[in-house]
Protein backbone atom coordinates (compact mmCIF):
# COMPACT_ATOMS: atom_id res chain seq x y z
CA UNK A 1 0.00 0.00 0.00
CA UNK A 2 1.19 3.49 -0.81
CA UNK A 3 -0.29 6.78 0.33
CA UNK A 4 0.79 10.05 -1.21
CA UNK A 5 0.02 13.49 0.23
CA UNK A 6 0.62 16.37 -2.13
CA UNK A 7 1.73 19.72 -0.79
CA UNK A 8 2.29 22.46 -3.36
CA UNK A 9 3.70 25.89 -2.57
CA UNK A 10 4.52 28.27 -5.42
CA UNK A 11 7.08 26.52 -7.63
CA UNK A 12 7.66 23.61 -5.30
CA UNK A 13 5.62 20.49 -4.83
CA UNK A 14 6.33 17.85 -2.24
CA UNK A 15 4.93 14.36 -2.53
CA UNK A 16 4.88 12.86 0.96
CA UNK A 17 4.94 9.11 0.44
CA UNK A 18 4.15 6.52 3.07
CA UNK A 19 3.98 2.77 2.77
CA UNK A 20 5.72 0.82 0.04
CA UNK A 21 6.90 1.68 -3.46
CA UNK A 22 6.84 -1.66 -5.23
CA UNK A 23 5.99 -3.16 -8.59
CA UNK A 24 2.35 -2.76 -9.48
CA UNK A 25 -0.28 -0.27 -8.46
CA UNK A 26 1.93 1.53 -5.96
CA UNK A 27 4.72 2.35 -8.41
CA UNK A 28 2.21 3.23 -11.13
CA UNK A 29 0.35 5.61 -8.86
CA UNK A 30 3.49 7.45 -7.82
CA UNK A 31 4.61 7.65 -11.46
CA UNK A 32 1.31 9.19 -12.53
CA UNK A 33 1.25 11.64 -9.66
CA UNK A 34 4.85 12.75 -10.14
CA UNK A 35 4.54 13.04 -13.90
CA UNK A 36 1.45 15.19 -13.56
CA UNK A 37 3.35 17.89 -11.67
CA UNK A 38 4.76 20.82 -13.59
CA UNK A 39 6.36 22.74 -10.74
CA UNK A 40 10.05 23.55 -11.14
CA UNK A 41 10.99 21.77 -7.92
CA UNK A 42 9.66 18.31 -7.25
CA UNK A 43 10.44 16.80 -3.88
CA UNK A 44 9.79 13.23 -2.88
CA UNK A 45 9.52 12.86 0.87
CA UNK A 46 10.35 9.22 1.54
CA UNK A 47 10.57 9.42 5.32
CA UNK A 48 7.60 7.09 5.76
CA UNK A 49 8.55 4.54 3.12
CA UNK A 50 8.98 1.13 4.73
CA UNK A 51 10.06 -0.84 1.68
CA UNK A 52 11.02 -0.33 -1.91
CA UNK A 53 11.87 -2.90 -4.56
CA UNK A 54 13.80 -2.72 -7.82
CA UNK A 55 10.73 -1.36 -9.61
CA UNK A 56 10.53 1.44 -7.04
CA UNK A 57 14.21 2.22 -7.45
CA UNK A 58 13.79 2.13 -11.21
CA UNK A 59 10.92 4.57 -10.89
CA UNK A 60 13.12 7.00 -8.97
CA UNK A 61 15.66 6.84 -11.79
CA UNK A 62 12.94 7.29 -14.38
CA UNK A 63 11.51 10.34 -12.59
CA UNK A 64 15.01 11.75 -12.15
CA UNK A 65 15.73 11.45 -15.89
CA UNK A 66 12.34 12.85 -16.79
CA UNK A 67 12.86 15.83 -14.50
CA UNK A 68 16.23 16.55 -16.13
CA UNK A 69 14.59 16.52 -19.56
CA UNK A 70 11.91 18.93 -18.41
CA UNK A 71 14.26 21.32 -16.57
CA UNK A 72 12.76 20.31 -13.28
CA UNK A 73 14.71 19.58 -10.13
CA UNK A 74 13.84 16.30 -8.47
CA UNK A 75 15.10 15.86 -4.94
CA UNK A 76 14.55 12.98 -2.58
CA UNK A 77 14.15 14.38 0.91
CA UNK A 78 13.98 12.85 4.34
CA UNK A 79 14.77 9.43 2.97
CA UNK A 80 14.51 6.89 5.73
CA UNK A 81 17.55 4.85 6.62
CA UNK A 82 15.98 1.86 4.86
CA UNK A 83 15.50 3.81 1.66
CA UNK A 84 19.02 5.22 1.77
CA UNK A 85 20.34 1.71 2.28
CA UNK A 86 18.44 0.39 -0.73
CA UNK A 87 19.62 3.31 -2.86
CA UNK A 88 23.19 2.54 -1.82
CA UNK A 89 22.76 -1.19 -2.45
CA UNK A 90 21.53 -0.38 -5.95
CA UNK A 91 24.53 1.90 -6.44
CA UNK A 92 22.27 4.86 -7.15
CA UNK A 93 23.56 7.30 -4.55
CA UNK A 94 25.74 8.91 -7.22
CA UNK A 95 22.81 9.24 -9.61
CA UNK A 96 19.91 10.41 -7.51
CA UNK A 97 19.78 13.69 -5.64
CA UNK A 98 19.19 12.57 -2.08
CA UNK A 99 19.08 15.46 0.35
CA UNK A 100 19.80 15.21 4.03
CA UNK A 101 16.81 15.46 6.32
CA UNK A 102 17.06 19.22 6.85
CA UNK A 103 16.43 20.10 3.24
CA UNK A 104 13.02 18.53 3.45
CA UNK A 105 12.07 21.03 6.13
CA UNK A 106 11.67 23.69 3.47
CA UNK A 107 7.94 23.57 3.97
CA UNK A 108 8.24 24.42 7.63
CA UNK A 109 9.27 27.94 6.75
CA UNK A 110 6.21 28.24 4.59
CA UNK A 111 3.74 27.36 7.27
CA UNK A 112 2.36 30.89 7.35
CA UNK A 113 1.42 30.62 3.72
CA UNK A 114 -1.45 28.34 2.95
CA UNK A 115 -0.57 25.66 0.45
CA UNK A 116 -2.02 26.13 -2.98
CA UNK A 117 -2.96 22.50 -3.25
CA UNK A 118 -3.15 19.87 -0.60
CA UNK A 119 -4.74 16.52 -1.00
CA UNK A 120 -3.89 12.87 -0.75
CA UNK A 121 -4.35 9.67 -2.68
CA UNK A 122 -3.64 6.09 -1.82
CA UNK A 123 -3.34 2.82 -3.67
Amino acid sequence: MLKVDIHAVLHTVTLHCSGRIVLGMEAEMLRCMAEARNEAYLMLDLSEIRAMDAAGLGLLVELHCRALCRDQVLTIVKASRRVRRLIALANLHSVLDVAEAGVGDLEDGDEARPPLVRHSLSA
Binding site: G24, D53, G58, L59, L89, S94
Partner: protein
Protein backbone atom coordinates in the same frame (compact mmCIF):
# COMPACT_ATOMS: atom_id res chain seq x y z
CA UNK B 1 -3.34 -19.02 -4.09
CA UNK B 2 -3.05 -22.56 -2.88
CA UNK B 3 -1.21 -23.86 0.13
CA UNK B 4 -0.27 -27.36 -0.83
CA UNK B 5 1.13 -28.68 2.39
CA UNK B 6 2.31 -27.79 5.84
CA UNK B 7 4.79 -29.53 8.04
CA UNK B 8 5.00 -28.23 11.57
CA UNK B 9 7.39 -30.59 13.25
CA UNK B 10 9.73 -28.99 15.73
CA UNK B 11 12.12 -27.30 15.43
CA UNK B 12 11.50 -26.74 11.73
CA UNK B 13 8.42 -25.46 10.01
CA UNK B 14 7.76 -25.42 6.31
CA UNK B 15 4.98 -24.57 3.92
CA UNK B 16 4.49 -24.86 0.20
CA UNK B 17 2.50 -22.51 -2.00
CA UNK B 18 1.48 -22.42 -5.64
CA UNK B 19 -0.05 -19.47 -7.39
CA UNK B 20 -0.87 -18.29 -10.93
CA UNK B 21 1.90 -16.49 -12.79
CA UNK B 22 0.34 -13.04 -13.07
CA UNK B 23 0.93 -9.82 -11.16
CA UNK B 24 -2.42 -9.75 -9.40
CA UNK B 25 -1.88 -13.20 -8.01
CA UNK B 26 1.66 -12.27 -7.06
CA UNK B 27 0.44 -9.60 -4.64
CA UNK B 28 -1.78 -12.11 -2.85
CA UNK B 29 1.01 -14.68 -2.87
CA UNK B 30 3.48 -12.22 -1.40
CA UNK B 31 1.02 -11.36 1.32
CA UNK B 32 0.43 -15.02 2.17
CA UNK B 33 4.14 -15.76 2.22
CA UNK B 34 4.93 -12.79 4.43
CA UNK B 35 2.08 -13.64 6.78
CA UNK B 36 3.78 -16.98 7.26
CA UNK B 37 7.31 -15.60 7.58
CA UNK B 38 6.84 -12.34 9.51
CA UNK B 39 6.02 -13.85 12.92
CA UNK B 40 9.43 -15.51 12.92
CA UNK B 41 11.41 -12.38 12.08
CA UNK B 42 13.37 -10.91 14.95
CA UNK B 43 13.24 -7.33 13.70
CA UNK B 44 11.44 -5.15 11.22
CA UNK B 45 14.65 -4.79 9.23
CA UNK B 46 14.92 -8.56 8.87
CA UNK B 47 11.28 -8.72 7.79
CA UNK B 48 11.71 -5.94 5.22
CA UNK B 49 14.89 -7.48 3.82
CA UNK B 50 13.02 -10.72 3.23
CA UNK B 51 10.01 -8.84 1.87
CA UNK B 52 12.10 -6.99 -0.72
CA UNK B 53 14.09 -10.08 -1.79
CA UNK B 54 10.91 -12.14 -2.01
CA UNK B 55 9.21 -9.40 -4.01
CA UNK B 56 12.10 -9.38 -6.49
CA UNK B 57 12.20 -13.13 -6.87
CA UNK B 58 8.44 -13.35 -7.32
CA UNK B 59 8.45 -10.48 -9.82
CA UNK B 60 11.17 -12.21 -11.84
CA UNK B 61 9.18 -15.45 -11.82
CA UNK B 62 5.98 -13.70 -12.92
CA UNK B 63 7.41 -11.29 -15.49
CA UNK B 64 10.22 -13.40 -16.98
CA UNK B 65 9.27 -16.97 -16.11
CA UNK B 66 5.54 -16.72 -16.80
CA UNK B 67 5.23 -13.58 -18.99
CA UNK B 68 2.48 -12.44 -16.59
CA UNK B 69 0.33 -15.37 -17.71
CA UNK B 70 -2.22 -16.56 -15.15
CA UNK B 71 -2.48 -19.97 -16.81
CA UNK B 72 1.07 -20.74 -15.68
CA UNK B 73 1.93 -21.78 -12.15
CA UNK B 74 4.66 -20.68 -9.78
CA UNK B 75 5.77 -22.93 -6.97
CA UNK B 76 7.16 -21.59 -3.74
CA UNK B 77 8.32 -23.21 -0.53
CA UNK B 78 9.39 -21.66 2.74
CA UNK B 79 11.31 -23.46 5.41
CA UNK B 80 12.12 -21.88 8.75
CA UNK B 81 14.46 -23.51 11.19
CA UNK B 82 16.26 -22.03 14.17
CA UNK B 83 19.17 -21.01 11.96
CA UNK B 84 17.69 -19.60 8.80
CA UNK B 85 14.83 -18.82 6.48
CA UNK B 86 15.02 -20.77 3.23
CA UNK B 87 12.76 -19.83 0.34
CA UNK B 88 12.57 -21.62 -3.01
CA UNK B 89 10.73 -20.12 -5.97
CA UNK B 90 10.32 -22.07 -9.19
CA UNK B 91 8.70 -20.92 -12.41
CA UNK B 92 7.95 -22.87 -15.61
CA UNK B 93 10.03 -20.58 -17.81
CA UNK B 94 13.23 -21.40 -19.69
CA UNK B 95 15.42 -19.61 -17.17
CA UNK B 96 18.09 -17.08 -18.04
CA UNK B 97 21.83 -16.64 -18.34
CA UNK B 98 22.66 -16.37 -14.67
CA UNK B 99 26.32 -15.49 -15.15
CA UNK B 100 25.57 -12.69 -17.60
CA UNK B 101 22.89 -11.26 -15.34
CA UNK B 102 25.24 -11.39 -12.36
CA UNK B 103 27.97 -9.58 -14.27
CA UNK B 104 25.70 -6.84 -15.55
CA UNK B 105 24.33 -6.18 -12.08
CA UNK B 106 27.83 -5.81 -10.68
CA UNK B 107 28.69 -3.08 -13.15
CA UNK B 108 28.68 0.55 -11.95
CA UNK B 109 25.66 2.75 -11.42
CA UNK B 110 22.70 1.46 -13.37
CA UNK B 111 20.84 4.43 -14.81
CA UNK B 112 18.23 2.39 -16.63
CA UNK B 113 14.85 1.58 -15.13
CA UNK B 114 15.53 -2.17 -14.97
CA UNK B 115 18.12 -4.69 -13.87
CA UNK B 116 18.45 -4.14 -10.14
CA UNK B 117 16.48 -7.09 -8.84
CA UNK B 118 19.24 -9.67 -8.74
CA UNK B 119 21.66 -7.26 -7.13
CA UNK B 120 19.12 -6.41 -4.43
CA UNK B 121 18.40 -10.07 -3.76
CA UNK B 122 22.09 -10.84 -3.42
CA UNK B 123 22.62 -7.87 -1.14
CA UNK B 124 19.74 -8.65 1.17
CA UNK B 125 20.07 -12.43 1.42
CA UNK B 126 22.97 -14.42 2.84
CA UNK B 127 22.91 -17.06 0.12
CA UNK B 128 21.33 -17.06 -3.33
CA UNK B 129 21.48 -20.12 -5.58
CA UNK B 130 20.02 -20.46 -9.06
CA UNK B 131 19.16 -23.89 -10.43
CA UNK B 132 17.60 -25.37 -13.54
CA UNK B 133 19.14 -22.68 -15.71
CA UNK B 134 17.72 -19.93 -13.54
CA UNK B 135 14.10 -21.05 -13.40
CA UNK B 136 14.51 -21.91 -9.72
CA UNK B 137 16.05 -19.71 -7.10
CA UNK B 138 16.82 -20.53 -3.51
CA UNK B 139 17.14 -17.70 -1.04
CA UNK B 140 18.61 -18.19 2.40
CA UNK B 141 18.77 -15.66 5.19
CA UNK B 142 20.27 -16.44 8.55
CA UNK B 143 18.04 -15.58 11.42
CA UNK B 144 19.49 -12.63 13.30
CA UNK B 145 18.49 -13.90 16.70
CA UNK B 146 17.94 -17.61 16.60
CA UNK B 147 14.68 -18.28 18.38
CA UNK B 148 12.68 -21.42 18.63
CA UNK B 149 10.07 -22.01 15.98
CA UNK B 150 6.63 -21.72 17.50
Amino acid sequence: MQETSQVATQPRISREFTFPGDLESMVAARQALMSFIAPYCSSEIEEIDIFVALQEALANAVLHGCQNDSSKTIYCSVEIDPGAFTIIIRDPGPGFDVDAAMQSTEAGANTTTHGRGIRLIRSLMDEVAYRNGGSEVQLRKSRAAASSVA
